[in-house]
Amino acid sequence: MFEERIIFHDAIETMEVDFCGTTFAVNADVDAFYDVVDKRLADSGRSWYFLVVYTDCVIAPEAWERFAERGKIANVKHGLGTVRVGASSQTREEIRQRAEQEAFRSNIFNTRDQAMLALGEMRKRRRDSRAAAEGTFLRVENVSLRFGGVKAITGVSFEIKRGEISSIIGPNGAGKSSMLNVINGVYHPQEGTVTYLGNARHQMRTHEAATQGIARTFQNIALFKGMSVLDNLMTGRNLKMKSNFLLQALYWGPAQREELAHRKKVEEIIDFLEIEHIRKTPVGRLPYGLQKRVELGRALAAEPTLLLLDEPMAGMNVEEKQDMCRFILDVNDQFGTTILLIEHDMGVVMDISNFVVVLDHGMKIAEGTPDEVRSDPTVIRAYLGTAH
């Protein structure tokens, strides 16, 4: 009977324990309940937040000590945090005292909704602190890349923060595109490491970048020319599609449902980028500016954590640039996507970036906020040139 009073909410990492109407008269009652709880926890093999509901629960003074003891053990072994609902004034007082003695937060709420909200806060705090503990979002350390004898990048290091828009700038041939290619695994640097979401790597296969949530666009548009806009965007969602080719061949059941679900998602991106009118057009027939937009859409379809944009505004006129800027800022704003972009238009870079890295001849010559970089003498020299 205790079994059904324990509910696991996997999605929010929470175990709900329902003490409603239970009476713990002697220690044996407490043990009977907690033996089940402990077994379920041990079987799950992981940690949980606890949501404990006390409504109409009676704990006799004789059993209280054992009750607190077993609760503490469960918390220490498997607990990420606990919220409590509906404790009687007696229970409430007991808990408060114990909380003061042992220095934990008592977290008692009157309604279940309040408890769930608090739980959400707890989970968010823990996620943030874990991200902070794991270090930075993306760190490039001492990366060098050579093609034969040609040095494309020499000992470049920088860091990018989650949720920001960062830019790499520099004259032609400075190694900007190569840098992006290193980050998403197309090129393998001879030296140095790239640390992304806490994982350092020296080499990885190109397709692995996508599985880690890195998407990108290319300097010379790399759309699939033979396919329609819709299909191009759908390719962006391939990693999320699970049905096998036999189901796809039948176009039946799960395969069809999956296809339609992703189509819906892609249509949202089509809406977002305002390209509804061309969704069935083969991309080869589109004008340049629209192709760039479709390419951004394809990258967005993957719902990336990190979006790399290689000269998203090259060759565009002023209106198209404004549109693109708006899309980039919106993506950053609405989806919280971190963006790293390469761009030649200084006005654009300084307007939308939080952080700028300057490369020249494959080396980093400056980094900082747009204002810092703008006034940096080395940067000015690299751009305007001096007599060498």
Binding site: N181, V186, Q219, A222
Partner: protein, 298 residues
């Protein structure tokens, strides 16, 4: 051991013959980036035309001139009708177009001259062992094979000089490197391509004469081109030297394989052994022995 050397030398000499065909592929590929599958058909066309003209009563020299003229015509026509409209298309499209061209030329040649098998004799050269080598080393070397090797050597030297020393040769190399760049500095692209196809036609003529004299002029000559493909893979599509070395390797390997490995699996492996060898080779060195390694840019 004597037997081994006899097989090896026989293989190397027939390898020279493969190289002769491969050379035609390399020339066109170098100058226009087209992988000309029709090279074998051109060899067949040349041999058949030559024999046909001889049958009409022309002497050897005149037949040679007429056939050469026909080959130039064929090359120029190909450039105009097939390649020019397809310029800037993907390489694979051009490749498929040359497969179509192969069928066309084969049909044309047989339509003009008939499909019967004919002999072709090159005056003074017989396919018989050289007595001196037989007496001294006990190895049978065909006079004809040696002659063919000599012709190939001369042809390669001439081509090397043509490519490296003449103005046209330099222009050719420029075109091969960068079409638009060559155009920009005023090299007439279409003239160059015409010249290349004409030269490839000439190489096909020489190969046709050699192969025709050896195996008779018949439809099977077109399959010689299929033998030349593994040669190209091993040697690299862009290298004259590669064609020669690749030819030697394939020739030797094929004959040695047939003699030493063939009996183990029931023989007749000549048809695919070079391909499998080339395949294994590809896995190790995809750009061929003398080919250039390309870096993909994104």
């Amino acid at each position: 051991m004597q037997f081994f050397f006899e097989v090896l030398i026989g293989g190397l000499l027939s390898g020279v013959m493969y190289a002769l065909v491969a050379l035609g592929f390399v020339l066109i590929y170098k100058a226009s980036g087209v992988f000309n599958f029709a090279q074998g058909a051109m060899v067949f066309f040349a041999a058949l035309t030559f024999v046909g003209v001889m049958e009409l009563g022309a002497p050897f020299g005149l037949a040679l001139v007429i056939t050469f003229a026909a080959m130039v015509l064929l090359g120029v026509a190909t450039e105009k009708v097939v390649l020019r409209p397809l310029v800037n298309q993907p390489q694979i499209t051009l490749f498929m177009a040359t497969i179509g061209l192969t069928f066309f030329i084969e049909g044309l040649a047989q339509g003009m001259w008939g499909a019967s098998v004919r002999g072709l004799e090159i005056p003074g050269i017989q396919d018989e062992p050289i007595e001196w080598a037989m007496d001294n080393w006990g190895i049978g070397i065909s006079k004809f094979d040696l002659f063919a090797a000599g012709v190939s050597a001369v042809l390669v030297s001439v081509l090397a000089v043509f490519f490296n020393k003449t103005r046209v040769g330099r222009a050719l190399r420029a075109v091969a490197d960068d079409h638009q760049g060559a155009l920009a500095i005023g090299i007439p692209l279409q003239n160059i391509w015409r010249i290349v196809w004409a030269v490839a036609g000439f190489v096909a003529l020489v190969a046709g004469l050699m192969w025709g004299a050896r195996n008779g002029v018949q439809f099977a000559l077109t399959f010689v081109a299929l033998k030349a493909l593994p040669v190209l893979i091993i040697g690299g599509f862009e290298s004259v030297a590669g064609a020669i070395v690749g030819g030697l390797i394939i020739g030797a390997a094929e004959k040695l394989g047939e003699v030493y490995i063939g009996p183990m699996v029931g023989g007749g492996i000549e048809g695919w052994f070079p391909y499998v060898m080339a395949l294994l080779f590809l896995l190790v060195r995809p750009e061929g022995l003398f080919g250039e390694r390309h870096i993909d840019r994104v």
